[in-house]
Amino acid sequence: MAHVSVPMYWRTIPQRYRLVGHKCKACGAINFPPKGVCKGCLTSSDFEEIQLQGLGRVHTFTLIGAGGAPPEFAEQEKAGGSYPVAIVELDEGPKVIGQMADVSPKDVRIGMRVRAELRRIYSEEGVIRYGFKFVPAEGA
């Protein structure tokens, strides 16, 4: 079982629940998830918060089968079959990994339009960890 402690998970809630990014005040690059030093200029640590819309396109994806699922997702895979995981290029620039939901694995395509929404990620220590997954958003 991956161990992400309750406080560790809690610190990332602005990103997981609402896709809050960090815009570098020096170079304008948007860091999501946040870094200590801006990825764009590798110099500044001065950021302002920016609300990302959660819209983007699938950059690449895979379909995780039983052999590829971490233990905390094993039951999900057993119950619903293989699940898609994608790296999504958000409209604002950053790429981020996320599971896809509400979509048939056979319908996932590189380039398809998706939107982030709140889903149950997994449960550890009896505490449900929520976070974003990506659902199809054609026309958005």
């Binding site: 992400v4 089968g65 971490p70 950053p94």
Partner: protein, 433 residues
């Protein structure tokens, strides 16, 4: 700190090295082994680093062998491979690559295995950079000798993966990528490499067949390696039809979990004279890290860590990809080997499929890759893999590989490529006869 004339300050991407005009520093003032850049622009003579012995345990699943015993097996094998005058008392340091500590000894593992093999009072450290631990152990040993701190150093690695349940094992295997996002998106490494494979196929038309060709080649080589975990050939049909693990990667695209250990004896040129007339030289090495999460990287069709580590190794060795006659690369997944052909400069970006189709990386080809069977067939005991590659190359370059069918003839320059996780760390080493 680094010697050289002029007292220049040198800045490379945030690494600042200041050079004293005083006495030549411990590395003789030529190249900074970390950033791989020339420090003084001149060519003072290098304190050369040799490998004079190399050993490896059998790779496989050994419920009856502990992590200590595995390391000892490799150590004994290394000792017996030294031509003459092997003396444990001369070993001043041991760098032991390991990730999971056998599931029990989180702290001081290297001290534990060092004393078990009869080296109780030395400079010993566990080196951990996920699956690149061994490669970094080798690089660290080389830096130690180059710096003149020790003359004879052990670089090795060991991993005991089969003591724990599959689920706990997957825990280890999943937490060397980005745990917070990649793991919690529902991936282990199969999923991450699958993301790379999918994009590579999308951008360059790389085919399912190309992935399986890697598996077929490496199993064919592994069948000739008595120490390999898997010693049976497979067919392209079988490799392509295996059950899907993380599309497009199937079971035959993925390496297994393995118990195993390896050890190489690294020393100065001067010390090498007492051990052998045919040392193998560490001509150059380079390392690089990268963003842990694939989504943080600029490219999803290359491992930037490999490119930069290779670049630094080539520069230190004053060589290029065209000089490399054979290589042991990090094929944790078949796609990883295809990426390695490109990122190490053996072929252009996007051409890996064609490269393997044309037969270049076969044992009979012009640049055999993974004659040992690679991680796929030989096995991948995480901490040991990097120094296990050195073991193979030591014997390849000295003509002492166990089975003649696997021996690459008259090779003089070989390359080792060892990747941590999905590319968060990479170590490249160039060995020469």
């Amino acid at each position: 700190m680094y010697g050289g004339p002029g007292g220049k300050g040198y800045i490379d991407k945030g690494v600042i090295a200041t050079h004293s005009t005083r006495a030549a520093g411990p590395c003789g003032g030529i190249r900074c082994p970390i950033a791989g850049v020339p420090l003084d622009g001149g060519r003072t003579s290098m304190r050369k680093v040799a490998i004079v012995g190399a050993g490896q345990s059998r790779y496989g699943e050994f419920p009856d062998k502990s992590i200590k015993e595995l390391f000892f097996e490799a150590y004994r094998d290394m000792a017996s491979s030294v031509d003459r005058n092997f003396d444990p008392k001369r070993i001043g340091a041991a760098y032991v690559g390991n990730l999971g500590c056998g599931g029990f000894q989180l702290g001081n593992l290297s001290a534990l295995v060092s004393e078990f093999v009869g080296l109780p009072y030395i400079h010993t450290m566990r080196i951990e950079n996920a699956c690149a631990s061994g490669g970094y152990a080798l690089a660290t040993a080389a830096m130690d000798v180059m710096a003149g701190v020790h003359d004879v150093v052990l670089a090795g690695g060991v991993e005991k993966m089969t003591d724990v349940s599959g689920s706990k094992g997957k825990y280890w295997l999943g937490v060397s990528g980005d745990t917070e996002y990649e793991r919690l998106a529902g991936t282990t490494f199969s999923g991450l490499y699958a993301l790379l494979a999918q994009r590579h196929m999308h951008e360059f038309g790389t085919k399912r067949e190309h992935l399986s060709m890697v598996a077929v080649k490496n199993h064919k080589n592994g069948a000739l390696n008595p120490k390999a975990q898997f010693q049976r050939e497979t067919t392209l049909e079988k490799a392509m039809a295996a059950p899907m693990v993380a599309a497009p990667l199937n079971l035959f695209d993925c390496c297994s979990t393995t118990d195993g250990a390896s050890a190489v004896l690294v020393c100065s040129a001067e010390a090498a004279k007492s051990f052998t007339d045919t040392p193998i030289w560490i001509e150059g090495f380079g390392t690089s890290s990268d963003y842990l999460a694939i989504h943080d990287r600029a490219e999803t069709v290359a491992l930037e860590g490999t490119r930069r580590a290779a670049d630094r190794a080539y520069k230190m060795a004053s060589k290029g990809p065209q000089d490399i006659e054979l290589a042991e690369v990090h094929d944790c997944f078949t796609i990883a080997e295809l990426l390695a052909y490109e990122d190490l400069g053996f072929c252009k970006k996007g051409e890996a499929g064609r490269y393997i189709e044309e037969g270049h990386p076969e044992i009979g080809g012009d640049r055999p890759v993974n004659a040992s069977g690679g991680l796929k067939a030989k096995g991948h005991p995480i901490g040991s893999t990097g120094t296990g590659q050195a073991y193979e190359m030591f014997h390849q370059l000295r003509g002492s590989v166990e089975k003649p069918g696997r021996q690459v003839k008259d090779a003089e320059v070989g390359l080792l490529h060892n990747v941590g996780g999905s590319g968060g760390t990479v170590a490249v080493t160039i060995l020469g006869r």
